[in-house]
Symmetry: C2
Subunit: 216 residues, 2 copies
């Protein structure tokens, strides 16, 4: 299965790419293909140095969509509408939203769009036969990029298509130390998206770094 | 410090009472004083059988408020307005809301009041000098009542008064295996309250029981 990461040159995109590419073909996408290529070289070098084989290529965002079965939208919420509007070819693909609409005031606040969540906005913008999941929302980029750090994290997944959800959960399970949890349909993806501002507040007020979540 | 539990005869109230009463004076409150007394006898018996000394008494909800420094509102959201309207004497007290407004449809959905959260509604209803915190929101009653089970749980606390928040966090810290986290001001208590429907969905969809949360 080929994974495309739209906005793959950002911290979260690179973090996901580095953790998935030892197990899957990953295409890092970017608005500028050059940046995608450099990011790809940097990530491959970091993995190779640790003796971890990987399969990473860099292309435009559109090619990342075209070349993949699963597309991960690793973009900030403010770029969501312009980016999705500029891309096509999502028919029959699985699209994963790790996007958390939030604002940083004195503290972090969850600020969902009127659709109810970023994932529901993605649902509205993409073709009907695109299967949408929200996942990877609580990825602390620094933790995922610190390849020598062992992960011990929960990744809640929302989605309305059982097959797509199972595929995304399998994808998550391929990353050592990361456990997927079915968190219900897209209708409740807001409750997963708002974990991230909660975790950022907890990090801030308790002097912690890169806080992750676990369910026990 | 004396702890009063309004609605202390419910599962969550009893769970909190049993975990706090070995370390603090706890007053179980109920609309019916008889029920509070029976609950008190049952909880004391359960603790005594395990050789755990405790200090528990049962009274009316109003007396639970009057006799306490910290009042925990262990009531379902639908009882919040009528219960608070029927009680008085909250001046200068610390009031803790573990209340999660939610609905069970096919799955659990967070349904906050127009104030933004249950804790903010409590804030609006009580006197200005009452210091409000939200805490104990994610208590899985069965887990807390299973006294032989070791806990390993995070309890996020929101509040606007630093002193009250520190006191509530200290109270939580007195329960072995439970760790308080400062989750910010009351303004973001919605992000803590909606953890509970999320955890209930995760329990349901992943065939788990009494799911708790941890931050790592």
């Amino acid at each position: 299965m080929k994974i495309g990461i739209v906005g793959g040159t950002g911290d979260i995109g690179e973090g996901i790419a580095m953790r998935l590419s030892p197990h899957h073909d990953v295409v890092i996408g970017s608005r500028e293909e050059d940046k995608a290529e450099s990011s790809c070289v940097a990530c491959t070098a970091a993995l190779t140095e640790l003796g971890i084989p990987c399969c990473l290529t860099g292309f435009s965002n559109q090619e990342a969509v075209d070349r993949s079965d699963i597309v991960i939208l690793a973009i900030p919420f403010r770029h969501l509408v312009p980016t999705l509007s500029s891309l096509h070819g999502f028919e029959d693909k699985i699209v994963v939203s790790p996007i958390n609409p939030m604002e940083k005031r004195e503290f972090f606040v969850y600020t969902p769009p009127e659709e109810g969540s970023a994932a529901l906005l993605v649902r509205k913008m993409l073709p009907e036969d695109t299967r949408i999941c929200s996942a990877f929302n609580t990825v602390a980029a620094n933790k995922w990029k610190a390849l020598t750090e062992e992960l011990d994290l929960a990744v809640p997944v929302c989605g309305d298509d059982a097959g797509a959800k199972a595929t995304v959960m399998e994808l998550i399970r391929s990353i050592p130390g990361v456990k997927p949890y079915d968190a219900g349909p897209l209708a409740v993806s807001c409750m997963v998206e708002c974990l991230t501002p909660l975790l950022l507040n907890i990090a801030r007020y308790n002097k912690m770094k890169d806080v992750g979540i676990q369910f026990r």
